[in-house]
Symmetry: D2
Subunit: 309 residues, 4 copies
């Protein structure tokens, strides 16, 4: 067994044994029903090696991890003009705060807080039908993961649509400043559905490979995006990928990552591997508790920190 496979299996075993699991998100009713005792991990090396552990093939709601893929897609469509609509600074406040939006006149701080991600989705929508935009997002993720079976969990989408008042507040607020172009309910509809995409750790780690490989898709060898853009997305993940726990994640794990309230985290070790972990219990900042613990252990054992040997 390779060093990587050994590390992954031992970490999966350790995580399963730990009693501290955080709290499952209940602000989306459908997510509150998920069993907190699950833990999965999948690592896909840039050399093609795959290591998995625990519930690595159980699909979960990727939620905000989808923001990495919609940012990539939107940058491909509109280029750096995206940054006139959305900033790229850490927010210093919770994931759904509206305070910053007021002080910065409707421009979200970065594409990884909810407001910013809705603005990015609005750019992808751009006058099309929601169904088309959603189809494009889904096709893009299936292409990245090389897996046509990836689908949306309609129950989760419907649950969030019924209860996503905070996101509706953010979208309407941005709309009042002209930051959202499409009708608010259409942009929100696409957003709620993209968040409801269900993927397993293995699918997610495969979908994230291009960020570890200078923007190339290993399945085809063709670039998804150019190398500079891949580096820059990684940089935004590092500074903004974990809401108001981004500094903590950088400090402990030392890798770019993006979390979702479904308990998943996509984590990139540049030029080394794409990693996905999943455990539904969250910490106070809304990030997977065991997910972060597992990634801290993995990066330490593998020496993958981007901040030094």
């Amino acid at each position: 067994m390779s060093k990587l496979q050994t590390a992954v299996q031992e970490i999966a075993d350790e995580m399963r044994a730990r009693p501290d699991r955080g709290e499952v998100a209940h602000y989306i009713p459908e997510l509150a029903t998920v069993d907190p005792n699950q833990f999965g991990i999948a690592v896909v090396g840039v050399d093609g090696e795959v290591a998995t552990g625990g519930d690595f093939d159980v699909p979960f709601s990727i939620q905000s991890v989808s923001k990495v893929f919609t940012l990539t897609l939107a940058l491909g469509k509109v280029g750096d003009r995206l940054w006139s609509r959305v900033g790229r600074e850490p927010s210093g406040s919770p994931f759904n705060s509206v305070v910053q939006l007021e002080y910065e006149r409707g421009k979200p701080r970065n594409p990884f807080i909810n407001a910013g991600a809705i603005a990015v989705t609005d750019l992808i929508l751009s006058g099309h039908q929601p169904r088309e935009a959603l189809g494009e997002i889904l096709r893009f993720i299936r292409f990245l993961a090389d897996d046509p079976s990836i689908a949306i969990d309609e129950n989760v989408a419907a649950s969030e649509q019924r209860t996503g008042f905070r996101n509706a507040a953010l979208a309407n607020y941005m709309k009042s400043f002209g930051v959202i172009e499409n009708p608010v309910e259409l942009a929100l509809g696409v957003y709620f559905h993209q968040c409801a995409i269900a993927m397993s750790c293995l699918q997610l780690a495969r979908a994230g490979r291009y960020l570890a490989m200078s923007g190339r898709n290993p399945a085809t060898g063709h670039p998804v995006i150019n190398a500079e853009r891949a580096r820059r997305i990684n940089a935004v993940m590092l500074t903004c990928g974990h809401y108001d726990g981004s500094g903590e994640f950088a400090y402990r794990v030392g890798l770019p990552g993006k979390s979702g309230v479904g308990g998943g985290i996509l984590c990139i070790a540049p030029e080394k591997a794409s990693v996905a972990v999943w455990s539904p219990g969250l910490d106070a900042a809304g990030n997977s508790h065991l997910g972060r613990v597992a990634l801290e252990a993995l990066t330490k054992r593998m020496g993958w920190s981007i901040f030094g040997a």
Copy 2:
């Protein structure tokens, strides 16, 4: 000439020719008198190679770059208990904001905004005389740079002491919550003097080497701090080192760095090099404008980004 030396010289030449220089800080009167047409750069590789350009040996006021060294020193003295006094999240607000302090009851967000750095200095002071604490800081920086000639610019210290009302507000505010232990005026006195240390780019790059070398001091081979702590300081520099321009710096330069309003930036390419640049003109977020431009050019030419090849 090596690739590094060529890159450094060409960048120095380009920078000298650029008309856009930002604005020299005038909130410390003594700094407002500095000639904005200066630019210096020094790179010290982990292999010992040294490359310099422009005004690399002109001393300047390191200001907030000193926070890297006092953080290192304080962690050595009090260990991770430091983090109960100071957080490690990006602030999402300007360098001297007091708003965040009110919402988080006097605990500064990170050691690289003014409030956090004053709290760190207070930990170093810890009941000693200001003169002793300041002597310890100065000895530590001289040791890191291997240069006993480094000194404090008393004019700058006096200028800030006369006008540093915002920092006095921050310190008194923290004191009201018990975050500052020593008398406010003593903690501020040490802080103003540490910021007034004058160093050249070459001295600064040499002083920063331990962060590029897993915590070791190349002059002695002995560790200054352990490797994990070096990585973690780099992580905090990445997420918090440029105030409310930290995300932008990570996005453009892709390396940990710490800026000061004197126009200096210390930048770490882990396992590769320690870099110092200096140009007095600042951008809107209070970071050296040409310094950032030069580092972006350097990291691109050398392929040093930590976010991918």
Copy 3:
């Protein structure tokens, strides 16, 4: 001519001659088309005397002045339990700020900022059809003014419905904390229509008489509300009736009042008179500029300040 009639006419003449008129609100497109050169005033004394000047019988959009009537109506329906849903402190921030809502977990500061008024309207709606709730509000105002011809300007209502994204943000935000009970779009629908009620100064001054008369309706002699509640509504008007210009209005005019972005102000001189003024141009805080100037002149000439002779 009585002293009052002389004062009112002279003030109307002075106001028409003044070049400073403020800016007509353009955030509701339909309101932006109103001619800024209009000025009206009507005073209805508790003794029955009526004095009018200028465009006193031209109907205008009462907008937020309607909040006085919906507050009265809601207090009659649900009593002081209303105050568990809405506070009664001045906001210290603009009329449509969302920042305060975040810090106070969705509870609006008072019933006269937009968020608070939407929450009050939601209490009136309370499970009924919007049409019924709106009918009840309209009937109440017609009853107060003793004038069945008062109606809603559907163009204004439709205009605000199309563009009221900021109010939609506030309503969704409160909904996410459970402060709004009905579907957001229903509560907003009623709110936009109540704001679009058109009244002349004379109608408005007549509708406000009960607040100057210890809660009694002079047409019938019957109480609309009891005397204590009338005093308390006046108190909330004094401290909160002019958004972030409430202190200024109290300082200059010295009477309780409530303004609307249509340029109207209802002003109460307790035990003396109900006054309505209208001039479409607004000051920086969103209150009628000439309206306030006229009220300052009137209260001074009549010696009506509640703060002393």
Copy 4:
């Protein structure tokens, strides 16, 4: 016994019997030692009638009630130019908040929050020695109360000087924007001493008479200030006199008032009476709990509300 005297005595008896007393302020150590079971009340009518109850002649620390007298004094010295330095809007935040100061660039919202009162004191100081300024303030209050025995409690002043870090933060913050002209420690020294003036309810009610009498001093018949200024000070007391409980006080008591953390409240019934109450226990907003309850009872029994009969 007059109706007033009966009301005052019965209220004093009721207050002594109540178990709910609020919490004595402990942020100034010297104040924390005061016996919470004290209650005093004194009413001085504009007709000269005096009614007293409970501990009406026990001196207490007037603290922020002093702000009414320094505002009056400063308006007399510099006139309305005072308002370019200090606003007159309610703050919508606690008495010692620094957040608002940051958003409004160092200009305090009103003269009755700490920051605003320090700015007013700085205007009185205006280049003089602290001792002279303090002497002027003390002479003015003795003149108003017609009582040369009023003095400063040096223990309270020293206690606050040792622990007033929050006020030092506010003062330094304003100084950084140029809102404070004198050296910070001098302005603070005068401020802490003015707050430490000790007065009994009777002395305080007598000192406040000019605000109930159109600015005239009944002892001499001469005006202290003109009638318009008296009305305007009353207006600012109404909207801003009880920090973030100002709306509540207006709603319940219906009179202008100014509270202090020593538990005193000066309350003005224009053209009727000047009232002082004292009970050391405070409510959550920092205002005397029983003081407010007593004033609510008094104003109701006497029909003194300015908001209607």
